[in-house]
């Protein structure tokens, strides 16, 4: 039980796809103008992520290494198309607002990244839990950004636009870094030029 929680927590917090690894940021900025949109995209991404992770883990011994990426993409694309159709049938209002980004879930590198890094190397239960944690972390990132932007939009109209998304995300990121840096008690090294770029491994930014 403790191990299970640790696995989920590691995926959701320490290796948070959006904040720690800088993955999946494109929908993050585009859709998080309100909490409702953010929740819809988070739910869709979560369903695809968990479903694909379970499928990839189940098929991992069957799929040869040289065709694994096409297989992952096929699984992710099938799930995305299904979620899109289900959303248009049963949640039309939300669908009309986030349709573009729902379809783009398939290109979210965070999902393919988890398939390659974790799901294809672990048994189904572990892969599913990791996907669940990653989805929760992504949902948290989307909802936090959505909540702040929606709250600010009334007073600062810029917050609802894309540039505002970048600024709010940057501030939240700085806040998160500051909070984790304190708890880890990292020795502070003076960096020449006070570089804005992080030196932590795996912090490569990507859309």
């Amino acid at each position: 039980m403790v191990r299970t929680l640790k696995l989920v927590k590691a995926a959701a917090v320490e290796r948070n796809a959006a904040w720690a690894q800088g993955l999946g940021l494109c929908p993050l900025f585009a859709v998080t103008t309100s909490i409702e949109n953010a929740a819809a995209l988070a739910a869709a991404s979560g369903v695809v992520l968990v479903g694909a992770a379970a499928a990839v883990a189940a098929l991992r011994s069957l799929v040869p290494a040289d065709v694994r990426l096409p297989c992952f993409v096929l699984i992710i694309a099938t799930l995305t198309a299904s979620v899109t159709m289900l959303a248009e049938a049963f949640a039309f209002d939300v669908y009309t607002r986030v349709a573009l980004f729902l379809q783009l879930v398939v290109t979210n590198c965070m999902i393919l990244g988890r398939m390659e890094q974790f799901a294809s190397r672990n048994p189904v239960p572990r892969a599913t839990l990791d996907a669940l944690g990653t989805a929760l972390g992504f949902a948290f990132a989307l909802l936090a950004l959505g909540a702040v932007r929606e709250a600010l939009a009334g007073a600062v109209p810029l917050a609802a636009l894309a540039p505002g998304g970048f600024i709010v995300a940057g501030l939240l990121l700085a806040l998160g870094r500051a909070a984790t840096a304190r708890t880890r008690r990292e020795p502070r090294r003076a960096r020449p030029g006070g570089g804005a770029s992080s030196t932590r491994p795996g912090s490569q930014a990507s859309a």
Partner: protein, 171 residues
Amino acid sequence: MPAALTAALRGALVLGGLMAVAGLGLALVNAGTATRIEENRRAARQAVLRELTGLDVEMATHQNVVACEQGLVALAMVERGYGGAMDVVAAFRNGRLVGVRVPRHTETPGFADILAPADWIGGLGAAAGGTALGGADIDAVTGATITSRAVLRARAAAIDRYGEAAPWCER
């Protein structure tokens, strides 16, 4: 059989099998959702027309005319946008263009945002009071050039058509 060939064959078989399963799954989901999706799209089209005309109207009653009631004439034109044919409805009240809406289109999501009543298209009616394009001095909307031009073409065509439609309505 050489090892490389066996490996390639195995890869092809796995990928092919997976494709078959995926295709079957998508066909099932499509079969389960198609009617509901069509109903939703239809309702959305109706809502656009109701918002514009205040009436429950069906598309294309007589040629381009979709509604004529108490001085209100609504004409539906078909224009080619970026993603294919789109329906453009223009409503006139007492000879004045009151609004333009697009109830059905296949434009790229995101770029089609200008077609939302609260967006660019919402300002098209009030600006043009006459029979010519005048009023709205717009060639196209940056970022959605083809979509916006199609709407403007359809609006011009509707204004042209109004001359024939109005007498038919009064009859």
